[in-house]
Symmetry: C2
Subunit: 359 residues, 2 copies
């Protein structure tokens, strides 16, 4: 989108993402994959995937089949692409056609893959996911007997997912690790993977043969509350539409909830909740002008919101000028905290009306 026509500019620092990949990959003796689901956490798989391939990444994960089909054209042929949700009924042939590897989560998916292998008369690779306590994806205790007969399927990876890795002291981490060690005995000699971004920081006991970071690549802090070793990868700057002076008693925004306590200057910027700038930021979110924090006042509208820029040089905040919504002054995790959520949700909701710039 033409920058002059857009309401905001989203800048993605591919160099930072590559640096983060290098740092994470260097923490383990094993390999390091990259999670590409949800359009590379909202930052653009089309740009992020090739950048990570250049950095040496050879294993990628998506959630959905359709995402993996798109990814197949973006990375070298020898890269492995796993699809975390496995094959929906009737889609096994698509996996084969596009050279995608399913993560098999339950007996039906295993049967689907075995049927295709039988039909093709060849062995097909798959990852086997074991549920170690999160009760989300992966073979449950009652399903394990189905793993007794894998004929036609070559298990290329055995994996599980941690529910509480962002809380290093949570007993669930160790419980899941032990359960993983016990269960993967069913698949002897198969490379293993357990660690998501936060899991990488739980130590070498969680690394196994393949790390699977997503969030950390994109600058989300995998250890909430502690200093992050990762670089911020994304910034968002909104354009000012207009600036007005308001008087004591004037109201700002829907519902007339914000009542001005005195004379103030209000800038309307053209980003709203339709752009992913959550309505929960109403009256509590922040923006920044050259490093100085200014508050969001009133409710966030669909396409715009108000900022109190009284303390900022009026010549700096004029129609067409840009203010920071996320970036050096407002890291993604801070924005998420103000919105009452996590950085993952902030990034994956970034809208489609921005001009996007890749560094």
């Amino acid at each position: 989108m033409d920058a002059s026509r857009a309401g905001a500019q989203l800048t993605v620092d591919l160099g930072a993402i590559r640096d983060n990949y290098r740092l994470l990959a260097g923490m383990s003796k094993g390999a390091c994959a990259a999670v590409m689901k949800a359009d590379a956490y909202g930052l653009g798989m089309e740009q992020v995937a090739p950048a990570l391939a250049l950095e040496g990444c050879r294993v990628f994960f998506t959630a959905h089949l359709q995402e993996a089909i798109a990814l197949r054209q973006l990375v070298p042929e020898h890269c492995v692409i796993y699809v975390l949700h496995g094959p929906p009924p009737g889609t096994a042939k698509d996996f084969f056609q596009y050279d995608l590897t399913p993560v098999l989560n339950e007996p039906g998916q295993l049967q689907e893959w075995r049927r295709l292998a039988h039909k093709l008369g060849r062995e097909l690779p798959a990852a086997i996911q074991l549920d170690t306590g999160m009760s989300r994806m992966g073979f449950a205790p009652a399903d394990l007997s189905a793993l007794g007969d894998l004929a036609g399927v070559r298990p290329a990876l055995v994996m599980s997912h941690l529910a509480c890795a962002d809380e290093p002291d949570h007993p669930m981490n160790e419980a899941q690790r032990r359960r993983f060690d016990s269960l993967r005995g069913l698949l002897p000699g198969v490379p293993a993977s357990l660690a998501n971004s936060s899991g990488v920081f739980l130590g070498p006991g969680y690394h196994y043969d393949l790390l699977r970071p997503g969030a950390a690549l994109y600058g989300i802090n995998p250890q909430p509350g502690r200093p992050t070793p990762l670089r911020q990868a994304v910034s968002l700057h909104a354009r000012v539409v207009q600036v007005r002076s308001v008087c004591e008693g004037d109201v700002v925004g829907y519902g007339a909830h914000h009542v001005c306590a005195g004379e103030r200057r209000i800038a309307t910027v053209s980003v709203g909740y339709a752009d992913g700038w959550q309505r929960s930021l109403s009256g509590r979110g922040q923006a920044a002008v050259d490093g100085v924090i200014v508050p969001i006042v009133g409710r966030v509208s669909m396409d715009s919101m108000g900022l109190d820029v009284t303390g900022i040089d009026p010549e700096r905040v004029v129609p067409g000028a840009e203010v920071e919504l996320m970036g050096p002054t407002l890291p993604v995790d801070d924005v998420a905290a103000l919105a009452g959520t996590i950085g993952y949700e902030v990034l994956t909701r970034l809208g489609s009306r921005f001009h996007r710039r890749y560094l």
Copy 2:
């Protein structure tokens, strides 16, 4: 997107949207526009705009220039397209090139448009927005003197926006209406517009010459707490990835916050917060199976979430089956209430990973 590969199916009922337009247009003696911003509130401008043009709609509104450029190719040439944010600096020529009409909100935008008119040696049409108390967009009291010289600009519409129209008894409504009547005296004889969706229901005194509904077209109730006369326009059905039995004490989802009180069946469906199914629905949202409500259990993940389907026939909830997230049993306003927000935010956040079907 191929339906079999998608994690969910979004169905948009264009017939319902046309019915809603007809109902709204019939409420006023004047004309009725349609608001198309944010991709027709997330439902797809490419399909919605032509459907409304067929229904007789001749005036459309977008927020951004880029949206209007896309809209220009979707509706007949004689349709008027207004851009609510007005021209960002340097873009007046784009408005002229694509036959778009800016909503002028402040003196700088007026100057921008006047400069182009002068350069072209012709009069250019514009809407003039007056701020009547919302302090968001439109000429503020201090800006009004600039309206004294419109040479080169033909005011085709004078408009303002209501801050509290969804609260019929709020004194702000009448205060804004009076202020609008007073201010539009500056532009005698110019057609006027004040009513958004909720404003239409405040009565004929708010209708003027042009209604501007958005939300109501798409089935959002413009009168919260009262029966809606409008048809639901959208439904969302998610695909089941897998189903598992859990025991007393087992946990579900991130953070291990949901602890099962007894033996339950949990279905994992492939919609999560990256699809706009807000994380605030964790542990409080709902889905429905053939009209029977089932709760979301545990935290909503990025690409999936868990439902407690213990009470549902096991043969109905199997991998590949669909469950309702929004539709006849769960109208958009109910989903919004569970998420702690409004229907506008639910619709405008609908994700891009769905198979979309238009009726």
